[in-house]
Amino acid sequence: MTGRTVSSAGPAVPRSPLAGPVRRAAADIFSWRFALLLFAGAVVVYPLLWVVSLAFSGQQSLQLVQLPGDATAWQQLAALIPLPQQWSLENFRAVLTEQPFLRWLLNSLVVSLGTTLVGLALACSAAYAFSRFSFPGRDRGLVLFLISQMFPAVLMLIPLYVIVVQWLGLGNSWLGLVLVYAITALPFCVWMLKGYFDTLPYEIEESALLEGASRFTIFYRIILPLARPAIAVTGLFSFMTAWNEFILASIFMDDEALYTVPVGLRFFVSDYASEWGYFAAGAILVSLPVILLFLSLQRFLVAGLSSGAVKG
């Protein structure tokens, strides 16, 4: 506004330095792009708001607001806003103490960490080989990896069950799930890491070769530290896949004490129960570790560690 008055005073008067930014900000806010972003933001956040409200409502019902029979249109509209009538931590307390939720959390943590470690170890070494060595079947192997990603994961359900549970006898065990998760995530991880390894200048390795370093030394002391951003992203992906996976876990794990969190959560809301409050509180508790992991890995997610290695 100030900008407008100043500029109207005449072309000779210099404009206030604020005029430009303010007007530009105003133009941004009242643009269709901004509206679109707001809408998209609402679409993403609205369900989350429901979960949070349910979790803190202290009750199990999906209806946060009891509408009278003759509710006005305004009241009905207001009921769409997910706000509990009272706030309570009761759902969290119950989930953590009355249910075996902590036990499931531990199961999930062990399985997910195991998956991340096993998956990264396999994916890093495989991706390095695919990136740097030429061997028969190299290109075909990469394509096969891609093809394997084109089938829905459910297709693998029966063969995996036969192999893991019946042949290996690894049903109802952490190890079985770790193996299955690590290996099904492998194609994606290998592609991801290979792409990053490809960007690391080969001269660095040649230089190390000339200095007498073995391939393993180069891989361990040079490539892995340089690929930290990619490894962080890939590790996060592995962890989250394992952490959130439901179908395989629900089939391989019969023993309630071995449930992972997604499987356990499911029993809050089933044919026989509809404890939406526990479900929502559990869901929030489940997301916390992933959020923490994300935050702690954030600095590695910033690529560019290899800048300065060579001059392009």
Partner: protein
């Protein structure tokens, strides 16, 4: 320290013509040899074969008294400086220089001494704790140099190490590299496409073209006594003028000049005449018996103390390097003269040098 010897060395990639069709070259113990040539001439491939980063398809490659065809790079005791430095970006300058020594499990105290000594020689002492990303290009290249030095290898290899530096730094680093070689006298092979670098650094220069060795010799041998048109045209800036001339038996002639020469009998009718730009002088000040040439000026490049005058007449193009005192303009015709002893003759077909059996200076002016 060691000599390096190529015996009929061939490098060929599958499904392509040989990059190096058969190289015979020996680098003497303690010598600074420069491999120079246009891009794609096989000079880098040759260097990488010495390093072991490229395999040898056929022939023998000797370092010292070891046949190294099948020796892995890490066991050849060679150190290499790369064009893009190839420093380890996640390690400090100290760690970069110590890496090779650590891999070889040298004692900690010894590593520290060696690295610090090299850092001092190269003026890197204050930078030992920094990472490559925090260094300038020149500093990076000095670290790369230091990393090679601390290992005290038998052979130093340089793969266009100065190409990424600006002109001023390049001169400075050239001085550094030259000084280091005088100090340590380690056998060195240096690849470049820059003939000034080759001339200033090389004790001997090997000129390669299309994988073939064109000539090996000291810088002045190559400049003053080129074996063929390629070498004549490659060394010197601006390069030697090569013009087609007709052999008249007692003289050579084309549109702009006529050079009376003895000893032309029996030579082909079409020859190439080579004249260095700096050997052309204003006719007015030149001895009367020197051959003259008259041509139109196409362009004048003024460099201050001197100017490069581009001449053209018909199909003949020449450059003269003249003192930059007179105002010359494009379109004018200029008369220049040259000492016939400074002229080179080449066979037009084989491009090889023709050395007249009779010394050129005995030629008498025909007119």
């Amino acid at each position: 320290m060691a000599r390096i010897e190529f015996r009929r060395v061939v490098k060929q990639y599958p499904d392509s013509p040989p990059t190096v069709p058969g190289l015979d070259l020996s680098v003497r113990d303690g010598e600074f040899m420069v491999l120079v040539g246009p891009s794609g001439c096989g000079k880098s491939t040759t260097l990488r074969m010495i390093a072991g980063l490229e395999s040898v398809t056929a022939g023998e490659l000797w370092i010292g008294d070891r046949l190294v065809n099948r020796v892995p790079p890490g066991e050849r005791d060679v150190a290499m400086v790369f064009q893009n430095y190839a420093l380890y970006p996640h390690m400090t300058v100290f760690e970069n220089m110590a890496f090779g020594l650590r891999v070889r499990r040298e004692p900690q105290a010894q590593i520290r001494t060696k690295v610090e000594r090299a850092a001092e020689t190269l003026g890197l002492t204050g930078l030992l704790g920094r990472r490559p990303g925090q260094l300038s290009g020149g500093q990076c290249q000095r670290v790369a140099l230091g990393r090679a030095m601390v290992r005290d290898p038998q052979v130093f290899l340089f793969d266009e190490p100065l190409s990424n530096l600006d002109a001023e730094l390049r001169v400075q680093m050239r001085g550094n590299i030259g000084r280091l070689h005088r100090e340590f006298a380690t056998t060195s092979v240096y690849v470049t496409h820059d003939q000034v670098e080759a001339m200033t650094l090389g004790q001997r220069i090997a000129i390669l073209n299309g994988g073939e060795l064109m000539q090996v010799g000291t810088p002045m041998e190559l400049y003053g006594d080129p074996d063929n048109v390629f070498v004549a045209g490659f060394m010197g800036s601006p390069p030697m003028n090569i013009v087609a001339v007709q052999n008249l038996g007692r003289a050579l002639r084309n549109a702009v000049l006529e050079v009376p020469l003895a000893g032309l009998e029996g030579l082909p009718g079409e020859l190439l005449l080579g004249l260095r730009p700096e050997k052309l002088e204003y006719a007015a000040a030149a001895p009367a018996h020197w051959p003259r040439l008259r041509a139109a000026i196409e362009m004048v490049e003024t460099l201050g103390a001197e100017m490069l005058v581009h001449l053209g007449e018909g199909d003949t193009r020449m450059v003269a390097r003249l003192p930059g005192l007179r105002p010359l303009a494009a379109g004018e015709t200029i008369e220049l003269a040259f000492d016939p002893r400074a002229a080179y003759l080449f066979d037009a077909d084989s491009q090889r040098r023709i050395r007249l059996s009779q010394p050129v200076e005995s030629a008498e002016p025909a007119l």
